[in-house]
Symmetry: C2
Subunit: 229 residues, 2 copies
């Protein structure tokens, strides 16, 4: 059975950067499931698997197709219950949705403010046109204007992760002693920034930085194999 | 066996308002455990149970004494495993710590900015003196200065709960289909504000407001019995 994960990349297919795809890459590794990764350009996504989804990740697991990172995690947990758990029970599954929405509403805009022009520069020409028009419409600013605010956005980044920073006084991972999907959710956001912008957002000794480094070490350094910008 | 929960109140003992105590009141009701609540003034707390803790809640469960709301929840889950679960498994327990630190680092300062002068006004004279000096030192402002910023703090409040608002598109409680301790953590913060400031922080139809009303209805309207300011 072939397991294929479609992810997102710019012109360099060796450096896939989508935060949502990284959540699933880590989830598959967590469960010890082999897969072939197919990094895909923005404008090629709508044609994947007969137009299943406008966004990646998309997982093909034999005959089964699943899109959306959270839905894929739910699918993996249900389909491979004997492998390491991604949620640690029903409560963990429910609370992971809160972590996802924290990441989406607070961390993702903060990464976008730093990295959006860097992401643009990683793309092939056709994707750059799509990316510029869609992102500028969404943000209400040009990529050049976003670039101007980059240093301010970098300075504003670390405080937004204060809940995680305080939590790390109690336990090494959001999942407790070891990582769960909740960790991969926030890891995905920071990995996205690491690969696209490589911005130095944490002060030395910040516990959030130490946690991120621990996540980069997981699964034989899977996250670390893709170099930072 | 007598189960006693020491909570916090001002001069009116019918209106205990501590967010941490409300977490435990709800947790005890969730597990169907009877208890006698003893609302206590700020300055009387250090003398409780031979100086066990400087803060409430303190739970006496027969011979056992436990302080700190999260530790009490852990104790109840471990001691009464056959009652309704507060965490929904190990993952839920670990992730609840993130919710706690989100509440503590983002929601509590936002409530304080609105309610601190109202809380002062609910206290007896001796407690007012303690409260004023300790809070003004902590905040770096007088209570009167805090009062001046109250309307701005009210306007700034609702956006801080955006992760919860987005999450409520997927499920009615942080715990999923029903509440878990994670819900009581954020409920405690909003109940604290409801009882002390009664500020109208949500627009009509805000899903966060609907969730809070659902929490007020839980356990035979336990939270609703204490009137809003």
């Amino acid at each position: 059975m072939t397991r294929i994960l479609y992810t997102l990349s710019g012109s360099d297919h060796e450096r896939p950067f989508s935060p949502h795809s990284w959540k699933v890459v880590m989830a598959l590794a967590h469960k010890g499931l082999d897969f072939i990764e197919k990094p895909t350009a923005f404008t090629a996504i709508p044609a994947l698997e007969n137009g299943l989804s406008k966004t990646v990740p998309i997982l093909r697991d034999g005959e089964k197709l699943v899109s959306d990172s959270f839905d894929i995690a739910l699918y993996l947990e249900q389909t491979y219950p004997d492998r390491a758990t991604l949620f640690g029970g029903e409560g963990g599954q429910a609370l992971s949705r809160f972590i996802e929405r924290f990441s989406q509403s607070i961390v993702h805009p903060a990464v976008t403010a730093i990295a959006v022009s860097d992401i643009h520069d990683m793309l092939a020409d056709e994707d750059q046109r799509y990316f510029r028009s869609s992102r500028e419409a969404l943000l209400g600013r040009t990529l050049e204007e976003m670039r101007t605010g980059r240093e301010i956005a970098i300075a504003a980044f670390a405080p937004k992760l204060e809940p995680l920073r305080q939590m790390l006084k109690y336990q090494p991972f959001i999942g407790g002693e070891g990582p769960l999907f909740a960790d991969y959710i926030l890891f995905g956001a920071l990995q996205w920034m690491r690969i696209t912008a490589g911005a130095d957002v944490f002060k030395p000794g910040d516990p959030v930085s130490s946690w991120f480094e621990r996540c980069l070490d997981l699964h034989q350094g899977l996250g670390r194999r893709v170099t930072a910008a």
